[in-house]
Symmetry: C2
Subunit: 614 residues, 2 copies
């Protein structure tokens, strides 16, 4: 056995080599080098089976018990292994397949109209030159020209100031916010003022590049959150920070590295120097924001759920390790509570909800389900433990919104039909597809009001169509959406009894959250003028199906307005206008957080909303 | 020859070993390791002869031309060498003698009475504990208890906050300034709040340790500015930053290292943890302040003499490399111009001049001579190129205020008598001694009104006493203050024709500066109620002698008030009270700087004040 093993990795059409010492676990070797994003919802414990990859080579170690449980015989035959369970003992080649598609992440949001008033502004100055009659210091000369008192300038910028002023004959451009002259550049550079807006989701990260001179969006890039290898949900990531002494540092480094790469990529593709990006506005849930800022999220996970800070954080970007202009600033948007974070504040901003007299509801179903009810007088909000079922997690064939995911399911004369993202051969089912499928099962009576799957025999007796798609295995009944002949990996795509239960719990949770907020404010469905549906799932979901499964109250179907990645839009707006940043602070002040875990109203509504209506 | 040479250094009663590669210059080897402060006014060019030290060992290299010029035959016989000219080629032992005495630096200033209101205050808080009814984030919990809106907290402190709060059951002490909660500590630590005040002179550095809970001064320590090996005056240090690419970095590191050592020393001696020092207030001339902040002083040296910044600088102390509490802040006091710096602002604060209706004059004669004239309505000020003659520089036998320096000279029936600092055997003459000696020479007619030395023959003809003390060598006449039998190094201590010229130029400069300010404001000697004399030299000088040589106008002798190290006192006051910090800003706003280099009034007065009056 050699001193070091080589892993040849084929991933997204690229090949890379990773070296590790013999006996290293494959998953760790791959994620350590950031070679690939591998989905590990269970945190690498062999429980979820999501890290399966094709492994080839000589002297492969024998299959573990967990692999024989999680992999189908066909997968085993083809050479699939669970990366988290497989030690590397020789040179091998791996193919990372289930994640080869770039996630189709919603980058677009609603349209908005805000004044161009970025936090960092640039001003061209033709300064008077010093002489014995005018011995003002360099700093005062710039400050006086800007005509704003009380300005300061960071030491490292003062360091460069004398030569900068004299390089172009005291003609300079000053970049400044309200308190600091953050940078002085020789000549007129007013038109080179860029910013990035970021939405850090638990699952996905979107970065927008903005021209803050014109207010235009130049580009956007998205990717799976690279912290995913440390766990799928916020709790498993928080656990990582608590269990490993350097866990927090790891997670922060991971997301910051990813952001830097995405920013570099965007800047390069658009021919922009990162030195001319002076601001980054970050939205994200409270845990993501803590991790990005390097703040310990421990007490977010423990009752009574206390964040370190929920105020807006404004710091030099380099303090976070963000590689934009060395003088650039990072603005982390404020949150409302441990589970209603800056992403929801940004989404609320984007929806316009907090600026209207009319009462509106905002529902953001992502890895969690957050709900806001209110208007310009006040807001109530809550977070439901909806879990990531609608994002495909904990669902047997569930996947995110990736190429090949079944995203719509309909019935017609020819029986079941479906579409997939990018029209690829189906490899799983994503949230909107799951909701459609379940709606059909309920409509047809295959799943009853209590959520129970009927057997094909029962269905046939009741003359229920599609009964032939019901199968049964050791874990119960399931419905075949795509038979094995149609799918990419040769395995059928099914919706199981257990999947239905997951969705049932999740939808009950969200429906009960909505009811709780309404009861708290004494309002009814009729008082609500608009229902804003935010987030990737909310954008693709079929409204009728959502109402069918009881996710959204019946009388609201026609009030629904899809606002896409509202968190991202809010971050963009806050980049473009300082007033929007201030609006975020105002939204936080307006908001009252309702803790559902201790709410008897919620408990009652949760039970009330558990069943399905046919 | 071995790979490495060992230098055994005897210095201030201690022995240390320094290692260097063969061929290294002795001075560089000694200063690189900061083993000793060696006086090098010429910057190590073999011109001033001040770096002479006793060297013993085998295989010493031959004397250089410059050493034979600068060292007397007796010194050569005893084994003196110029450290800057001597390569180390074997193991040697050196004795650093001329600097063995710790400088007697004025640490005491005037008494003052200010409110105890330090910039960093501490407050003990018993916080409500969080529960599901009170889910405020940790930061808001602290901020709300402090009852001040708009507070922020640095990220690295937020990082520690959750565990700090929970360590002592939500009983904590918050240290804060007006904008930031800089630190939260478990339990009640309100009585552990210390600060340091620093006066960075070109020649000397004084550090005061203050108890900001009681307002008491705990201790003080002083030393020669360790940047002196890069040059005696500000211009040679600025040159160093311009000539060497890392020159500025060197100089900054040098002074910061020295400050850190002095702070450590003070803290240790007084049993205080440096972690409990939260603030450092720095005064110093504009160049010293630039160097401490790492700001390029280049344009201070070039006409029209422009500093990078003269505003007060407030930064986290760690940004300067200052090792107090990691959360501590540094306050660099503001200056008025390139040559009227923060030391003069602090001195003006300490004098109380800017708070009085009466017109006062402040004269600070240090390495430069700065003058302020004014009251609470306005100030005018200037800086004279008095040079460091009054500190003993450029004077043949001149030394700083060290042990063995002749500090007073008088005449009586028995002829000349003198005293020395610490009553040691004389080894040179310091500023106050020089002024006394020159006053005697003028009074007796040995030096005439034009500053010319009379020969002993001329004196005898005119029946001038003390004529026998006049000697003559290749460079002209000189007056023997202490014959060789009385002195430490066996060389006579003399005042030469050239020395008289140095003093003559310096005193003309200061006297003309005073006149220029009076003319500028249309005021006369009679309008001036108090003359504050600041600085080490000003404190020890004999007022009568000062008037005799024309340094201070005749009619002011009885108005003189000695205020000691006023810059240090001002820094202390600014540490103790934030109001004093604000007063410094106010003094800067009140002040008008008069540039003497372009002033015809000054030119005329300079010539008028050149001669002596008998």
């Amino acid at each position: 056995m050699s001193q070091e093993c080589t892993i040849t990795v084929n991933y997204i059409g690229k090949t890379a080599e990773v070296f590790c010492s013999p006996g290293s676990i494959l998953l760790e070797s791959l994620t350590k080098e950031q070679t690939a994003f591998i989905d590990t919802p269970c945190g690498g414990k062999g429980l979820c089976g999501k890290c399966k990859i094709l492994v080839s080579g000589k002297d492969l170690p024998p299959l573990t018990q967990k692999e024989t449980e999680k992999l189908t015989p066909k997968e085993i035959e083809r050479g699939y292994r669970l990366a988290c369970m497989t030690p590397v003992v020789s040179d091998i080649e791996v193919e990372i397949e289930t994640n080869i598609s770039k996630a189709t992440i919603l980058e677009d949001g609603v349209e908005f109209d805000v004044d161009l008033l970025p936090s960092i502004r640039k001003q061209y100055l033709t300064l008077e030159k010093p002489d014995l009659e005018d011995q003002r210091d360099d700093f005062s000369r710039v400050r006086d020209a800007l005509n704003i008192k009380g300005f300061r300038m960071p030491l490292q910028e003062l360091y460069n100031l004398p030569e900068t002023l004299r390089e172009h004959d005291f003609k300079v451009t000053a970049a400044h916010n309200k308190s600091y002259i953050i940078k002085v550049e020789p000549g007129d550079t007013t038109n080179a003022n860029y910013g990035v807006a970021v939405d850090i989701g638990t699952t996905t990260v979107v970065v927008y590049l903005l021209d803050l001179y014109s207010g235009a969006q130049i580009g956007a890039v998205s990717g799976l959150n690279s912290q995913k290898s440390f766990g799928q949900d916020v709790i498993s990531r928080i656990n990582h920070t608590m269990q490993k002494s350097e866990g927090l540092e790891h997670l922060q480094k991971r997301i910051i590295t990813q952001l830097n790469e995405m920013i570099w990529d965007l800047a390069e593709r658009n021919g922009i120097a990162v030195e001319n990006i002076y601001s980054i506005v970050l939205a994200g849930n409270t845990t993501m924001v803590h991790l990005a800022a390097g703040l310990p999220p421990k007490y977010i996970a423990l009752t009574p759920f206390i964040p370190v800070i929920k105020d807006r954080i404004v710091v030099p970007a380099r303090e976070l390790g963000i590689e934009i202009s060395k003088s650039g600033y990072a603005y982390i948007l404020p949150g409302i509570s441990a589970y209603v974070g800056a992403d929801i504040v940004a989404g609320t901003l984007a929806s316009g909800l907090a600026g209207q007299e009319n009462l509106s509801l905002l529902i953001d179903i992502g890895t969690n389900g957050e709900i806001v009810l209110g208007n310009n007088k006040g807001l109530v909000c809550c977070s439901t433990a909806a879990g990531p079922a609608f994002e495909g997690a904990h669902i047997r064939c569930g996947v995110g919104g990736i190429s090949g995911a079944i995203n719509t399911v309909t019935t017609g004369k020819t029986g079941i039909s479906y579409t997939t993202i990018d029209n690829h051969r189906p490899l799983g089912i994503c949230g909107s597809g799951i909701v459609d499928a379940l709606a059909i099962l309920i409509q047809n009576g295959i799943v009853d009001e209590t959520g129970r799957f009927l057997s094909s025999e029962e269905c046939r007796e009741l003359h229920i169509p599609l009964a032939d798609r019901i199968i049964e295995d050791e874990s119960g009944y399931a419905f075949v959406l795509a038979p094995e002949g149609e799918t990419k990996n040769g395995e059928p795509i099914i919706l199981t009894q257990k999947d239905v239960r997951e969705i049932q719990l999740a939808k009950a949770s969200i429906a009960a959250g909505i009811r709780t907020l309404m009861k708290h404010t004494g309002r009814t469905e009729d008082d609500i003028v608009t229902v804003y549906l935010a987030g990737g799932f909310g954008s693709y979901i079929d409204k009728e199906s959502a109402v069918q499964i009881g996710l959204i109250p019946e009388r609201m179907e026609n009030k629904i307005k899809v606002i896409g990645n509202a968190a991202g839009t809010g971050a963009i707006m806050s980049s473009i206008s300082e007033n929007c940043l201030l609006d975020c602070d105002r939204i936080v002040k307006l908001a009252t957080y309702i803790e559902l875990s201790s709410s008897p109203v919620f408990q009652e509504e949760y039970i009330n909303n558990m069943y399905f209506k046919r």
